[in-house]
């Protein structure tokens, strides 16, 4: 039973196309994220959503638009794809911590390797 699942795992598309990556978590978490991993393996946050509300948008081009229909889903839509968008995109989720026994451990999906040609 996968905790955080992304689809598709691989995506090859031409420049200029529009594509979406879906993410779902079954952990009951209230926060979801999208991260981008570049060719040097560096992981950088793109977006963070808490209870369907956008919390962080880290200098990501407007062509990237996250959509959170409910707490369990955070999809990433990309318009007018460019060569530089080629990367691995990771979705993650965690629970915002409150109280003494808080546990804010984050769990990641398996990643979506996007290749723009």
């Amino acid at each position: 039973d996968t905790a955080v699942s992304q689809t598709p795992k691989y995506l090859v598309t031409q420049m200029g196309n529009d594509k979406s990556i879906k993410c779902e978590q079954n952990l009951g978490h209230d926060t979801m994220y999208w991260y981008k991993q570049d060719s040097k393996k560096f992981l950088k946050i793109m977006f963070s959503y808490n209870n369907k509300e956008l919390i962080i948008n880290e200098t990501v081009p407007n062509r990237f638009s996250p959509k959170s229909p409910d707490k369990a889903h955070l999809n990433l839509h990309i318009n007018s794809l460019e060569l530089g968008d080629s990367a691995v995109y990771f979705c993650a989720s965690s629970q915002t911590g409150t109280g003494f026994f808080r546990n804010t451990e984050a769990f990641f999906g398996q990643g979506t390797r996007l290749t723009v040609v």
């Binding site: 994220y33 946050i45 963070s48 962080i56 993650a92 451990e105 984050a106």
Partner: protein, 111 residues
């Protein structure tokens, strides 16, 4: 924002050797995690360790929050330990906002 450094950047070991990976961070943290990214690209949770020491089999981790560092210790390394090890932190006050990753330590374990 918070800065995260990891050392060494690359490490090559013979199977059976032990190693210590280090993560230094620039500010107080709510959350610190260690991940292993295997050669297939999956990010595997190793430890959730904002403070203290934990052990899981051949792996153990220690975070000294007051000194702003964490260490991951791998004993009797195996070829399956190869991959990139990341530490990620969540700065105090940033609940549910942003895990900042270090640049990773690339580990190669040779048979």
């Amino acid at each position: 924002g918070i800065q995260v450094e990891q050392s060494p950047p690359d490490l090559i070991l013979q199977e059976g050797a032990n190693s210590t990976l280090r993560c230094n961070f620039s500010d107080s943290v709510n959350n610190l995690q260690w991940f292993h990214q295997n050669p297939w690209g999956q990010l595997i949770n190793l430890f959730y360790i904002p403070s203290g020491t934990k052990q899981n089999g051949r792996l153990s981790a220690t975070t000294v929050a007051t000194e702003r560092y964490s260490s991951l210790y791998i004993s009797s390394s195996q070829t399956t330990d190869s991959g990139v090890y990341f530490c990620a932190v969540e700065a105090v006050g940033n609940y549910g906002q942003n895990f900042v990753f270090g640049p990773g330590t690339r580990l190669s374990v040779l048979p």
